[in-house]
Symmetry: C2
Subunit: 884 residues, 2 copies
């Protein structure tokens, strides 16, 4: 017969820590603690499989369950020497849920189960403590009614408050036996009134009610929502843990508490926890009484009057400290522990890996390695790369008050405060005057780049996580909140309104790009501090990983940041960003408005020396590291003014006929610019542009000794590349024939992926432009996905925003095809990725699997990518071992 | 040694008609005529390979060529009994180019080669006709100087004119011997003056000069341009034909002429041609004298005074008629023939398949089948399906004078005249007043549909062959000229200017959608006449093809047209086109502006009965044929007004707050609508829309007994389809549970093609939306491709506009993948194509190869698709036989 129930207690258990899938995290760890010989109240775990079955079979449990539970209950009775439901010597139990991972929204705990009007008397007599017995009884009714029967808990709190008022006391512990008996009576009457049926007195009914409540809580809306967000399968199910009660509320020799074996904020090696004397578990969390420190040191540091456990119960404290050490060295990680002291005896109720901040994660990892508890690889595997982001940007002081007025998308992490400005020019002006500003735009365009540079942060009303604003801000390491749909921005009035609030130009606001919050006024921030632990972990990561990590960078500042964060080259240097500077855009527009090739060449010849200087500067910063330069990519209309007002301005400034300007702008306008006249298509129609850029690159390379990698965007076949190779080779021969260079291409269109075999005849490297490849493969414009992507996520159509996490099944198949076909033609072709996904850990793991040579991401994500690449390498090693 | 030269003459030849690749069309057919025993002046052909080598080796010919030519020349001398360059008995030759297909821009002919001051005397003596000899000499110098030496021909014409003036005569034939001698002298002096060197007197120098001139003409600009347009490989090369001269200019018993064995305009079985007495070939073409009819009947019909060849040379005529019959029955096709009569003896100079109109092609095919010359399959293979288009639309009277002021893209065939109007409303008003109008727009949008319906034709300044205007116009069978970039349209002034011309509202213009021409005034048109031959050929096609042919249709008129043209169902019924009618758009906008689902449902409930009636009408017209209905596809902003003016109008008409309207329009605005919130994404976010449409379909099906096929657009995976299947199933259960229906999806995104295996779990059919699949696979917006697609074609990056002819290598691979994976999951899944490519013959052939079940195209292309499908089936049979 199938085993649905696993018993534990008295120094042994049927389960173990390795059985989390079957027993849930809590159950597996309870079993493990028993096996370690730690004092755990005996009990048993009903497997997750029963829960899965429960839902499969229309909320029915397997027939065999009842007998197995009875048997396991019998074992507890034998161990404890008490009997469930017995009027004179009653066994009480707790019922707790326990999925593979801990999950808010699931049923937490029912304590003291097994009490009724008979057993309460038995408990009173047996314990010799009538008050304790009735306190336990009223707690049980309160908890069970709330958690299992669904009677709102505030109803009971009101009753307690009114009885306390009547008695003239303020603490629960001040209530006497009669008060408690009255509470029980009133509670039961209230339950009858609310539900139209009495509170269950049969202990078995109570037990099964508790078990079913755990199963039902698996499908509570909150649990479902949590699973959606954290990508936990609905089909995992939860286990149920039933355990004999131990009582922290048996008087002043009893207590209950929670502790971390190390400081979860800083990672310091010091016990960190709280306890309450004469209390049950929920009291610590509920905040009814002020918890006390466990260690004397902590009590002193917090300047508390309340004695520490170390001082009050030195023996138990010593035993607890030993237990903590034992658990930490057994699990080889910082533990989050729950315990109860019953009449000076310590009982362990839970242990699990403790949640921690990114800084703590680094410190603990380094310390555990130094303590010899774990290997470097193990340490690397435990750190969430994405969490490093917290360390690399300023963050809001978590203790500061704040007034959140809107919430957008957390488009680029970090936080910043400043006066609101509504145009790039104002941002630049304000910066020149030494003011901090937040640039507020409906959406940004390449023309706003200098304003974005000048601003402390960027706030937009439209656009997703990979909109222009988001991508550029991340590249700059500036915080950005995008797609804040509730914002109504009025450029003319220079203000925005959101709900009842109006923010005018100059009003100070704060944005948090890590959460998407928009706040009124200035909220204090704290600066990042890259400690020695960070550097240490990065060193380990670098020694393990096989993927190279490069950065996407186009300015000297970007390049310097990239090197600071450990980038091993530039994977994407977007040349167009160099054309938006005030002095360059004029020549660029002159080029666009030229009537013929000669006119274009004239304008380009003005841009060429500037481009050359840009490249010289970048080559010098990057030294021997490779620099991949992408030739002009965006459609030309992005460089022209859009509004009539701007048009008039530009016409005046550049002396061009406004009618001509208007006509050219109208001609260049596109319905779907993403799929328009851009990328290599510009090079095909205006070869002189790419020729100028190639010249600038070669001249810079000649001067600096760099070996540039020239990258052609948006090809869909070999021929475009061959034609443009001729253009570039011509420039090469005439400028710097002795400069070595590589020619490669972006693979960013499905057709390019399919034709990669032929393309590799010409291309010496591929760089997967996964932003555009995702847009075209899935047919989703990243700038327009806001209207439906949330629905797509909530309905399970996509697991993640495909612009944040690579769509492995679709886009990934094309990458695999391209890598295979490319390698079949050119065995040593260099393969990299330079889309936004290059900085996403899950996507980096995929890049490792496909065997790419490098990933490239925004400079501020380089450390994340380095760590993720190390994890990917470790995963690959494990997979290889498994396969062998 | 490699054979570079193939001889022919005297009833035998080294080559044959099957060797066109080596000998060119002309050379192969000359050999074939020799083999048939027809009188062909002896000669030889230098192979195309020599030309290919000539360019490979930097304009050098193979060493062995000279000897092979000498040998072949010797053979001619032996056959003729004359000697090349001999002063007393000279052999003269002609030199002609001859590629695989005939090609304008290539060197045509040099006649009389081998004459100089010595040989002309020999010719005079030998022929006993001094005038003939000197006439030949002056012709040779004139032709050779023009064609080989590059001296402009008008220089010689001026000299002839001045000598004629001096002599007081008007025809060349009136010049006497002295005049001709003087001409020769003056010509030679002129050549010396122009080139600084004398006209070559060495006959071998003459010969090789002619051969090289043929090779050089292969790379003339005109030839290159022609090959680009007609997709002829630059690497084919041309052959050179050298043939002993026969003379049509030896007096009144000599003549030269051209003829078609049937009438190339009508296809009628009657000899159709012209000849000139005492002339050489170029005289017929040059139009110096009026050519005469060959047959008496034709002479009588044309009411000519000049006698026919039948009357003047009855014996030669009879021989010629016999030869024509022989050639036609040998080649089993209508022939285009050149001949010369020398002193009452007939010589054949060329035969080839004759070009013909579409109507003639049909008649000739039917006649040849009836005459037992060819099989039905052979007849089907010979008709160019695209040419049928000429027959299905009104066309311009080719004889009418016309004033072309601009040229756009031939977006939808046919021709129409009418007053220019600049808005859809004006078009409707004008139609209501009984006026014919041409709708002139910068570009069209779905709001213009009713105006497009009302207009006779559509003219746009922007947009390609597959722009909105083009696609909709083709669907309606209306002519359309799109992308006429030179047009400057001023909506406010209600006029457009192009160059010096200004066309105001109401001015009559004519557009020719078959050529892209825009003309001032009314040019008369002729109506299509679908003759019995058309029906006959269609019947044969239907009996051969295995692909079904459906139509894309959404109105009753479309559906009726589709059936008239033989469609076997509707493959794409776009439901959104039903929402643009004046009375419906109001409810549609109400739906878009609604605050919540309830508001949307209210508006939808007004649209539902109208949709139901649409479907009832279409189901009734289509009877038992399948109808595939695509649920709402375009983004919602397409239904909102765009300009401030329209916005105000709509706000007023519908009583909506303009501020709200503006805000909603701004919120819905998209950067790349093609990749935006459209297709099934609308169904996911607003299921009530699809539910309403499904209800309307099921109610209509219940009433008519139809078995509808419901199609979901723009899925990229299985999940969207599953979710929407639930929505549709719900509507089905509540409305018409007994109505049978199929649920399927468009495959129009690369990811959908890759995930087709999973999608087929739910989808009962796939319809390849190759427009969008091409856009996403290649990353090209069809509305924005005009800026570069011509460059892409001219540089050989794409062979065709990928929106006209399916990109087999890229998009095609995805279709293959999807078909395979779909069938692997669901063996009998129905596969079709409903993009524009469904009406393109080359693409239809691909559909046959991949094994699709049907193609669907605009109603007016259904006959083309039927014929193309027949050809594809025949091709498949041949391939299968080859493979076996």
């Amino acid at each position: 017969m199938k085993k649905f129930v696993y018993s534990f207690g008295d120094g042994s258990a049927e389960g173990s820590a390795s059985m989390k899938e079957t027993l849930g995290g809590k159950g597996a760890n309870l079993a493990e603690m028993c096996n370690l010989g730690l004092p755990v109240p005996p009990g048993f775990t009903i497997t997750t499989e029963v829960c899965v079955d429960y839902y499969k079979e229309g909320k029915k449990t397997p027939a065999a369950l009842k007998d197995q539970v009875s048997e396991a209950l019998k074992k507890i009775e034998d161990k404890i020497g008490a009997k469930f439901g017995d009027a004179t010597n009653p066994l009480l139990v707790s019922v707790r849920s326990g999925a593979r991972v801990s999950m808010p929204g699931m049923m937490d705990t029912v304590l003291n189960l097994g009490l009724n009007d008979q057993t309460v008397e038995g408990l009173a007599k047996k314990s010799g403590n009538e008050r304790f017995a009735w306190d336990s009884y009223r707690r049980f009714i309160q908890m069970y009614s709330d958690v299992v029967l669904g009677v709102d808990h505030y109803i009971f709190e009101e009753i307690i408050d009114s009885i306390k008022d009547g008695a003239g006391v303020s603490l629960d512990t001040e209530l006497n036996i009669n008060h408690l008996k009255e509470l029980v009576k009133t509670f039961k009457a209230k339950v009858q009134e609310e539900l139209g049926r009495p509170f269950p007195t049969d202990v078995n009914e109570q037990l099964w009610g508790g078990v079913m409540a755990v199963f039902d809580s698996w499908m509570s809306n909150r649990a479902i929502a949590y699973r959606k967000i954290h990508e936990i399968g609905d089909n995992w199910g939860t286990a149920v843990n039933i355990q004999s009660m131990v009582f922290g509320n048996m008087g002043d020799t009893s207590a209950t508490g929670v502790a971390f074996t190390r400081n979860p904020s800083t990672g310091a090696k010091e016990l960190y926890g709280e306890y309450l004397v004469n209390a049950q578990g929920e009291d610590v969390v509920a905040g009814i009484r002020t918890p006390q420190s466990i260690t004397k040191k902590a009590r002193e540091e917090s300047d508390s009057d309340l004695p520490s456990m170390e001082e009050v119960m030195p023996n138990v404290y010593k035993q607890f400290i030993d237990t903590c050490k034992k658990l930490e060295s057994h699990y080889r990680d910082m533990q989050d522990i729950e315990f109860t002291v019953q009449d000076n005896k310590l009982w362990m109720l839970q242990t699990r890996g403790g949640k921690r901040t990114a800084a703590a994660a680094l410190k603990i990892a380094v310390d555990l390695v130094n303590e010899g508890l774990i290997s470097q690889e193990e340490a690397l595997k435990r750190i969430d790369p994405s969490a490093l982001d917290q360390l690399l940007h300023p963050s809001l002081d978590p203790k500061a008050p704040k007034k959140v007025i809107a919430k957008g998308l957390p488009a680029s992490p970090g936080a910043a405060s400043g006066g609101a400005v509504f145009s790039a020019e104002e941002a630049e002006d304000a910066k020149a005057r030494g003011k901090d500003v937040i640039l507020v735009r409906i959406e940004t365009s390449p023309e706003d780049i200098s304003g974005m540079h000048a601003a402390k942060g960027i706030l937009t009303a439209r656009g997703g996580m990979t909109s222009h604003a988001a991508v550029v801000a991340r590249g700059m390491g500036k915080c950005c909140v995008s797609g804040t749909g509730t914002l109504k921005i009025d450029y003319k009035a220079k203000q925005f309104t959101v709900g009842e609030h109006t923010v005018k130009a100059g009003d100070i606001i704060t944005i948090n790009g890590t959460t998407g919050e928009v706040m009124l006024g200035k909220v204090p921030t704290t600066q990042p501090n890259l400690s020695g632990d960070f550097a240490e972990v990065m060193k380990w990561a670098d020694s393990v990983r096989t993927l190279k990590v490069r950065a996407n960078a186009e300015t000297s500042l970007d390049a310097e940041t990239a090197r600071k964060f450990g980038a091993e080259g530039i994977g994407l240097c977007r040349t167009e960003h160099m054309f938006f500077d005030q002095d360059r855009i004029i020549s660029m527009r002159e080029m666009i408005l030229a009537e013929d090739e000669e006119g274009r060449r004239k304008a380009l010849s003005k841009l060429q020396p500037m481009q050359r200087e840009d490249f010289i500067s970048i080559f010098n910063i990057m030294g021997d590291f490779p620099v991949t330069i992408r030739l002009l990519d965006p459609p030309l209309h992005e460089f022209l003014p859009h509004s009539e007002e701007e048009m008039a301005e530009v016409a005046k400034a550049s002396g061009v006929n406004i009618e001509k300007l208007r006509h050219r702008a109208a001609t260049l306008k596109e319905s779907n610019p993403m799929l328009g006249h851009r990328g290599c298509r510009l090079g095909i129609t205006y070869p002189e542009i790419y020729e100028m850029q190639a010249r600038a690159i070669f001249e810079a390379a000649r001067e600096t000794g760099a070996k540039p990698e020239i990258m052609i965007p948006l090809v869909f076949g070999k021929k475009e590349l061959s034609i443009l190779k001729n253009v570039i080779d011509k420039a090469h021969k005439s400028v710097a024939p002795k400069v070595e260079y590589l020619l490669g291409t972006m693979i960013e269109l499905p057709r390019a992926a399919l034709k990669a075999g032929e393309i590799a005849d010409v291309a010496e490297f591929f760089s997967f432009g996964t932003n555009d490849l995702t847009q075209t493969t899935m047919g989703i414009s990243r700038d327009d996905s806001a209207g439906f992507i949330d629905d797509y996520k909530s309905k399970g159509i996509v697991e993640h925003d495909p612009f944040a996490v690579l769509d492995v099944e679709g886009v990934g198949e094309l990458i695999k095809i391209a890598a295979e076909r490319g390698r079949a033609t050119r065995k040593d072709i260099k393969l990299g990725i330079c889309g936004e996904h290059g900085g996403n850990p899950a996507s980096i793991n995929f890049c490792q699997q496909v065997g790419l040579d490098y990933v490239s991401c925004s400079p501020y994500r380089v450390p994340i990518a380095r760590l993720a690449a190390a994890q990917a390498a470790i995963n690959a090693k494990i997979e290889k071992k498994k396969a062998a």
